[in-house]
């Protein structure tokens, strides 16, 4: 699949590595994003979000466990491990237990096509973007399994709201990503990124080469908030009116897995938006005359750095929005999706098509 011999060398070499019959390399390729999700969710996701939310509200956040509370996450893990793993007697046990698993698998499977730099991608599919958009839909099944299996009205409300929300917002999100795919002429994540690579850094990104790209960019960002259940679209969770929505009945490690899935999908959508519009793992720095900043800050390790930083920036924006905006009502949510984002995404689609034809 790779166009140049240097692309995906590390992941190809790693997946070819095996001890006897056991494909150890493939396992390592799968484990790398898992370790990444776990580490980022614990540091940036849990601790960072607490601190960011606290600072935005003029508070201090966790301060007691370790210096500036940096061991707070560790204490949280210990607490979650000690908690009793309750399965309600009247619950549908199979769905209840498997729900968080489906949720996490849904967000984790999309990591297979995310390029962590030019030399590392789990699977360079020629339908990578399509696969990523499609596999997110698995989260709906997980949420519905969790909410229905809990045998709890709040959980069921949360699950049904979530289905309504995620299924609706997938339409503007997919059309917005289609604009990026149209600009690139391919659905492969590595190829889309390569289309935006060049010596002038950020000037090659779709967001800056195309006069209309800001519209699908904004539409996808708003829809991605809804797809990951982040505020202001967190009505499936709705901790104030539904207690905690579809995970009301969960405790201990199952609860932790649900949150790991949420943080996993947060990074996933942030990485997808960076790949589709902001050049993925390419360096933002342009070459200025003889000072080759772009060439200096490119390469497999720099690529991983850039895509993670771009993803983290969008996660910061998600947190920033969460602590700024109130939750939308269900009717407002549907209005925004069907009457604003969907028409505008269609307009963006047509305009992008015209631009691509005439360019």
């Amino acid at each position: 699949m790779s166009s140049s011999p240097s692309l995906n060398t590390w992941s190809d070499a790693l997946s070819g590595f095996s001890i006897g019959w056991f494909p150890l390399g493939l396992v390592i390729v799968a484990v790398i994003p898992l370790v990444f999700i776990a580490l980022y969710a614990l540091t940036y996701g849990v601790y960072g979000e607490r601190k960011i939310s606290a600072f935005m509200q003029d508070r201090l956040g966790p301060m007691e466990v370790g210096f500036w509370g940096i061991l707070q996450t560790l204490a949280d893990i210990l607490k979650l491990l000690q908690k009793e793993d309750i399965v309600p007697t009247a619950a549908d046990k199979f769905l209840f237990v498997i729900g968080p698993g489906i949720l996490f698998v849904g967000s984790f499977l999309a990591f297979a096509v995310l390029p962590f730099g030019p030399a590392f991608i789990g699977a360079d599919l020629n339908v990578g973007l399509f696969y990523a958009v499609g596999i997110v839909a698995l989260e709906v099944v997980g949420i519905l399994a969790a909410g229905w299996g809990s045998n709890n009205k709040w959980a069921l409300y949360g699950a049904v709201r979530s289905v309504a929300q995620i299924v609706s917002y997938e339409i503007p999100a997919s059309i917005a990503l289609l604009c990026a795919a149209m600009l690139a002429g391919t659905l492969s994540m590595q190829q889309i990124t390569l289309m935006q690579a060049g010596p002038n850094g950020f000037l090659h990104w779709f967001l800056f080469t195309n006069p209309i790209a800001w519209l699908p960019f904004l539409i996808y960002f708003i829809s991605s908030l809804a797809e990951t259940n982040r505020a202001p679209f967190d009505i499936p969770e709705a901790e104030s009116e539904l207690v905690a929505g579809y995970f009301t009945e969960y405790s201990g490690m199952k609860f932790a897995v649900i949150f790991l899935a949420e943080y996993g999908s947060m990074f996933m959508v942030s990485a997808i938006i960076s790949i589709a519009f902001l050049g993925g793992w390419t360096s933002p720095l342009p070459n200025i005359g003889s000072l080759e900043l772009n060439a200096m800050t490119s390469g497999p390790v720099w690529g991983a750095f850039w895509i993670i930083m771009k993803g983290f920036f969008f996660i910061f924006v998600q947190m920033w929005l969460r602590w700024t905006l109130p939750r939308l009502r269900v009717d407002q949510l549907m209005y925004l999706c069907w009457k604003v984002l969907t028409p505008f995404s269609l307009v963006a689609f047509v305009l992008t098509a015209i631009w691509v034809i005439n360019h």
Binding site: A54, F55, M56, Q57, D58, R59, L60, W320, T324, V340
Partner: protein
């Protein structure tokens, strides 16, 4: 249709305004709000930065004239029980023992020079009930009962909110009671022996009265 677009414009601008405010607060988190009191001219100007007070480590000092926790200076207490009667929530419990004449010296005087005539083995203040109304303080004749400026006296167990101020231990109190009873019995006996004449008149009443030793 124009309303539709104006709604989009309003939401975009309001979201931008709100996000600008939160971002400003986020970057102001490197500062701490000052500690200017209400008297300072800068009080209303210190709007930026974190305002959380890490309470047990950092606390705003209570004013020295604050009236919070009730305290009894038992050395000055004369056992008049006025505070107990005045308390509207019955948070004060007092027991007194009258001093015997030879103990007057040991019982001592108040700081105002008044001779104390009562031992106070039990002077309990249930701080959990106290509503800091200060009535007890105003009726106290020797000013030994007052509210201090200690504002934080929370406890994990409500039993620990019961404060003991008595000036005698249980054993001492028993001894004093016994001594008083003996002296009163002695006095009654002497009275009965000395005055045979006045006895007949209140005889039916006086005889049962003397038994508990309550002759004043």
């Amino acid at each position: 249709m124009s309303e539709y677009f104006s709604n989009i414009k309003t939401s975009a601008t309001t979201i931008a305004t709100g996000m600008a405010i939160t971002l400003k607060h986020f970057f102001n988190a490197v500062k701490r709000k000052g500690d200017a009191g209400i008297d300072d001219a800068d009080y209303f100007r210190q709007v930026d930065g974190l305002c959380t007070l890490q309470y047990p480590k950092e606390a705003i000092p209570t004013p020295p004239h604050g009236r919070y926790r009730l305290y009894c200076n038992i050395d000055d207490c004369i056992g008049c029980r006025q505070c107990e009667r005045a308390c509207p929530v019955e948070c004060i419990a007092i027991e007194t023992i009258k001093t015997t004449s030879d103990d007057l010296e040991a019982c001592g005087k108040t700081s105002g020079g008044q001779q104390k005539r009562m031992w106070v083995p039990v002077f309990d203040i249930d701080t959990a009930k106290c509503m800091t109304c200060g009535i007890c303080q105003s009726v106290c004749p020797t000013d030994c009962l007052y509210h201090t400026s200690v504002a934080d006296f929370s406890e994990f167990d409500v039993k620990n909110m019961l404060y003991h101020f008595g000036n005698l231990s249980k054993i001492e109190a028993e001894a004093k009671k016994k001594k008083l009873a003996e002296q009163q019995a002695q006095a009654a006996k002497e009275k009965a022996a000395a005055g045979g004449a006045p006895a007949p008149k209140p005889a039916p009443k006086a005889a049962p009265q003397q038994k508990p030793g309550g002759a004043e």
